[in-house]
Each structure stands twice: as structure tokens, then as C-alpha cells.
Symmetry: C2
Subunit: 342 residues, 2 copies
DNA sequence: AAAACGATTTCAAACGTTTGCATTAATAAT
DNA sequence: ATTATTAATGCAAACGTTTGAAATCGTTTT
């Protein structure tokens, strides 16, 4: 590359690199004329300080690693935007890694982030990691004492800070809303097994049923992936079964699975919410425009990202290592996919 | 930080850093025993090579900068995934920057990426940059001779390679599809003014109308933002006007604006596609699950990202600077939002 | 015994920047 | 004239790693 360096400038003006460095950084004890000449020349030649050498010197890269399992869902992109909103204004750069829910990719990425000496790491753990429960790569992060913040998907052990939504409360809220509006046969499209998120939402759902004197039905709880496709089969099975009672409501682990369920219901000619109510979780930007407009739990994705970033900043500026757990309160967003009885 | 370095290991074994370096890199002329001892110890101590120092030495960071205007749309996240799919397997790290369609943010990010000595930059230019036509920041990139690839949104001047969908052809295709199925009063929800993408799609639409003997109607062409909300007002105006003819079809600049238009049509009790047909552009993952399932133009987002990444790799490996322009052919995906006459 | 060889290992420079300390030169105070 | 003071600049080390060339040392060949 033909990158002009401080040394080049020093040679040009027959002075030392130190002088150039100080001139460019507007140091006080540099002759005003010298300063101006050097600054002008640097500007003219398009000098750009080499952050790499600075990183090496300062042992700080002003770079943050962000690990997410996927970027298919608006929940994730909103979170990322929340993170960006905090870091960008402070001159940090964000390195993104997508793990595709794979454990080994997650490990690889962590290693590379460490090798690249990022100042901190935010991570939403992959499904595989959650179910394998192998957190050795996070040990490496801890050993280096660099701030580690878990976002969105918690892990049970104490490996760092975390910022999550109260999944249990959200699920409870959703289920309660259905019950209050007269639903009694509530099915649940649950998330992938092994993920704490799935477990907590399932528990919230189950506890709410129990507290309202409703016995859960195993057949009406299906663990599926976090996508539209996964919802198709289970929903079909529930509603095409002719010789048995069908659900009068579905609580989906996220909005996407509800989109799938709603597609099935619509194609079966089942009316939402008159015959079946549907509640999701996430509050995707599209949900208010879906047909029917989806009632859902606001997951505060952007807020989670923002908070996680701020948590990270706190950890970065503190000289003693500490970790903190933030749990956000979800709120119910009522729309048209659930009936309302007054 | 308590990062263990090669020097530490050298001290431990009373040998020189060079020996340690070679041992860790499995260099041939290092005593087998020495090698093993050192490797074992490094492993045990969790030694991680410092990529920063390597970057400084090699003048290559194995890092790619990716600049996008937003990450709200699946089109963008799919593109990003396409880019990731290529670079991740080759050990590159991706630094993401979101410009929020702002010119000054785009400039800032470019400067920082250059300062961080990324090996290449992929960029989807912001709306502001496109309309201001100030490309000085790309001059800086060119001056450094680092590969620059424009994705998705082209710029007219020759600043680097580019990978885009054939927007004109796609729009022509969409409009033709509507005309072939009997629509004659075709409205267009156009993209933001100033963007080449918007202009090309508008032209494809206009040319197709002209070639089929249909006179375009100014009132039926509205420039709006790339989101759901922007579509609401214009659509309302078109269909609530009582004393004049209403469109029998809408061609939306992307799927999102169609979601908005469809919402308005549905709430007005207008049947899709019986009364009004709707075609979008992008083929978002949700479109096949929308109600009605949206007919659209496949923008090949993932493919664009993948191709752009490969283009970049070629530029990186070539010792002479060159640029290349790839234009992908869009295809029509027929679903339920357009009527079909046979 | 001297020379040549091969196997290992070390030296030193390089990448670009910052920074405490030393140096120089010019001016002011004694 | 000498010393103290100030302003401006230079020196050298440091960050962690790699790498060509040089050095060391034991062994083999002549």
C-alpha cells in the first residue's frame, strides 16, 4: 500500500517522528509554525493514523466483538442497532460474527476475537452451545479479564454480565391474556429444547395455566425451531385432527412461528381471533401489519442491545472486574389476533 | 491484561522469541522436543497469538469493512449473510457499520475503516450520499488502492467494482406481469428520489407502460421511503378518491411498501388480487407467508452478497488494480397478490 | 588436526506510533 | 560572563511477532 506514515512526513521535513506525532496531536510544546506546516502537509497527503500500531501500543483496539446465532430475525437486528447506537458515537468499531447456532463456529469466532484483542465481547449464545453446555471458550474470555456480556439468551453459570427480557413473565402475561379473554384450550409452539429462553417461556405458560386451574396437555406443546416453517406441521396436526378437541388459542414462542401458524389457520378457513386466538413474543416491526395484526409481547430488542452496550462500557471503565444481571420487563401489545371479552 | 506473549514463553524456557515463534508455527528446523515442550506449555497457558502485531508487520489485517445504510430489511441481512458465507471460512473478520442513510456517518465510518487498515471495503451507499453526490470519501479509499465494492446500490462514477441486481429489468418484468394479466391502471410506489435504484425501477416501469401503449399518470407515481409507513398515505389517497378512477394494480419499489399498501387496501375492503393486484420487489422471506402471499421480484440478496464477497477476494488476490461490474438477472415469483388471466 | 557440515538457535530489524527523558539552542537573569 | 530558564526538538524504548542472516556447537569427513 502507499499509506503515508509519520516517518515519511518526518523525512520530508527533516525532523523526528516524535515531532510529527506531537504536531499532529496538537501537543503544546511544538512550534506553532512547525505544527501548521506538518498538519497541512498531512492533510494534503491524506495521512490517516495507523490504528493498528496504536492498538499494539495501548493494548486496546477500541473494537467490540458481537456474536449472534443468526441475523434472520428482526429481534436480532434491532438488538444490533441498539448496540451500535451506543458504541458508534464513542468511536468503537463493531466486529460481527454469526454462529449459525453452531457450537464450533462460536468457539472459532471467540478465539479469533481474542486473537484480535477486542476490548469486550457481547454474545447471544447458540443453540448448540446451550444444549451441549460446553462453555470452555468463555473461560478463555474470563481468563483474559475482558468484559463479557450475554445478551438475550442467558446462560445459567456465572461467566459474565447479562441483559435479558423476563421470559417467564412475558409468557405468563401472554397466557394470562388468553385466559382472561375466555380461552381455555391453549396450545404452545415452544422454542428449541435446551435453550433457557424456551424453557422459561414454557414454564411461564405452564404456571399460568396451573394457577388458573387449567391442566396442560402434552400434545399441545411442541418444541420447534424459531422460524415460520417449523410452525406449519404442528399447527396442521392440531387442527386437522377431527376426532378430538382443537385448541382455541396458540401462544407462540416468537412472532415468526405465529406467522406460520396463522398461515395454516387461514388456509384451513379458521377465523382469527373468533375461533382461535394467537399471541406471539418479540413484537416484530411487521406484526402490526400482518393479517390479522398480531397480539404479542414486546421483547424490547433495541433496548436490550442498548443496555447491554452500556453495561459493557461500565465494565470497561471499571478497574475491578464485576458482573451484573439486568432483567427487563416485557409488556403485552394487544392487537387483532386475540379476541377481547369485556 | 494478563495475555501471555511469545516473550513470556521465551523467558520461561530461557530461549529466544524466534525459537518460540518457530516452534508454535511448526517450523521445520526446530528441535522436535523443544517444539513439543513449547507447544504444550503455550496450550496450557492459553496462549493466543496477537493478531494486532501481525497486522502491523504484514500490513494486512484480514479484516473487511462492510458499510450498509440500515439493517432493518431482510434484503440487507440476507446480503450480509451472503458476504459472511464467503469471508468467514477464509478467516476474515467483518467490521460492520450502519450509516442510517447519513452522509457524514458514511464518511466517518470510511475514515475509521481506513484508519483500522481493513483489507477491503464493501459498501451500499446511503441515500444522502447518493443525492449529494459527494464521493470524496471513496477517493480516499481509491488512493490507498484498497479494493472497494459497491453492493446493491450502484453509483454512476467509476470508483470500484459493483454487484447489483438489474433493477430496470426487474421493474419491467413486474410491470409486464401486471399488464399481461389485464391490469391497465398501474400505480407505482417508487423509492426515495436520488437513489439510482429508485430511478431504474421507475424507468423500467415507465418503459414497460409505454411499450404497451399505456400512458403513465403522474398522480400514480409517488416517491416514498423504503418502509411500510411511507406507503400508507399515498395508497389511501389513491383509493379514497371517489370522483376519479382508481388504480387496478400497484407495483411497489420493495416488498415492505407493499405490506403497507396491502394493509390499506384490506382495511378499505378492497379485494386483492380481484380488484387490485400488487407486485413487490425483493422477495422477503415473509412475503410467501403474508396475506395475500405476495407476488414479487426476487432480488437475490444472498447471492449479491456472496458474489460481492467473491469479487472482493479476486481484487485482493490480484496484484494489478481492476474493477468489475456484475449485474444479476431478477426473476418473477408469482404468488397470490396478482391475478392470473389465461 | 583441520575443515566442512548439519542441526539448532539467536540476532536484529521491521511494522507505525507514542512518550518520558535528554538534549539543544536561544533568551533572560544574575 | 556565567548561570538559570524556557522553548523546541530528538532519542530510544515499547507494544508482539516474524524472518533472513549469522552464530553456535557437536559431529563427521578428509
Amino acid at each position: 500500500m502507499n499509506n503515508i506514515t509519520i516517518k515519511d512526513i518526518a523525512k520530508k521535513f527533516k525532523c523526528s517522528p516524535s515531532t510529527v506525532s506531537r504536531a499532529l496531536n496538537d501537543h503544546s510544546n511544538i512550534n506553532a509554525d512547525t505544527k501548521e506546516t506538518i498538519q497541512e502537509y498531512a492533510q494534503k497527503m491524506g495521512y490517516q493514523k495507523n490504528s493498528i500500531s496504536l492498538s499494539l501500543l495501548n493494548k486496546s483496539t477500541k473494537t467490540i466483538g458481537v456474536l449472534v446465532p443468526s441475523i434472520n430475525h428482526s429481534h436480532e437486528t434491532l438488538m444490533i442497532q441498539g448496540i451500535q447506537s451506543v458504541f458508534n458515537s464513542l468511536g468503537y468499531m463493531l466486529i460481527f460474527c454469526v454462529t449459525n447456532e453452531k457450537h464450533n463456529l462460536e468457539q472459532d469466532h471467540i478465539k479469533r476475537l481474542l486473537s484480535n484483542r477486542v476490548d469486550a465481547i457481547l454474545v447471544s449464545i447458540s443453540q448448540e452451545t446451550a444444549s451441549l453446555r460446553d462453555f470452555s471458550h468463555f473461560d478463555m474470555v474470563n481468563k483474559r479479564k475482558i468484559p463479557l456480556v450475554f445478551i438475550d439468551r442467558d446462560i445459567v453459570e456465572n461467566y459474565g454480565s447479562s441483559v435479558v427480557i423476563d421470559d417467564y413473565a412475558g409468557a405468563y402475561l401472554a397466557t394470562k391474556h388468553l385466559i382472561e379473554n375466555g380461552c381455555r384450550r391453549i396450545a404452545h409452539l415452544a422454542g428449541p429444547q435446551g435453550l433457557l429462553v424456551s424453557k422459561l417461556r414454557l414454564e411461564g405458560y405452564l404456571d399460568c395455566l396451573k394457577n388458573n386451574g387449567i391442566a396442560p396437555k402434552d400434545d399441545w406443546i411442541k418444541h420447534i425451531e424459531f422460524d415460520i416453517e417449523g410452525a406449519i406441521e404442528p399447527t396442521k396436526n392440531w387442527f386437522e385432527a377431527k376426532n378430538t378437541a382443537t385448541p382455541d388459542a396458540i401462544f407462540g414462542v416468537n412472532d415468526y412461528v405465529c406467522y406460520g401458524a396463522i398461515n395454516v389457520l387461514t388456509s384451513l378457513g379458521i377465523k382469527i381471533p373468533e375461533e382461535v386466538s394467537v399471541v406471539g413474543f418479540d413484537n416484530c416491526p411487521i406484526s402490526p401489519y400482518f393479517s390479522p395484526k398480531l397480539t404479542t409481547i414486546d421483547r424490547k430488542s433495541y433496548e436490550i442491545g442498548r443496555l447491554a452496550a452500556e453495561q459493557t462500557l461500565e465494565m470497561l471503565s471499571s478497574d475491578t472486574y464485576f458482573s451484573e444481571k439486568s432483567i427487563l420487563n416485557p409488556i403485552l401489545i394487544e392487537r387483532e389476533s386475540t379476541r377481547q371479552v369485556y
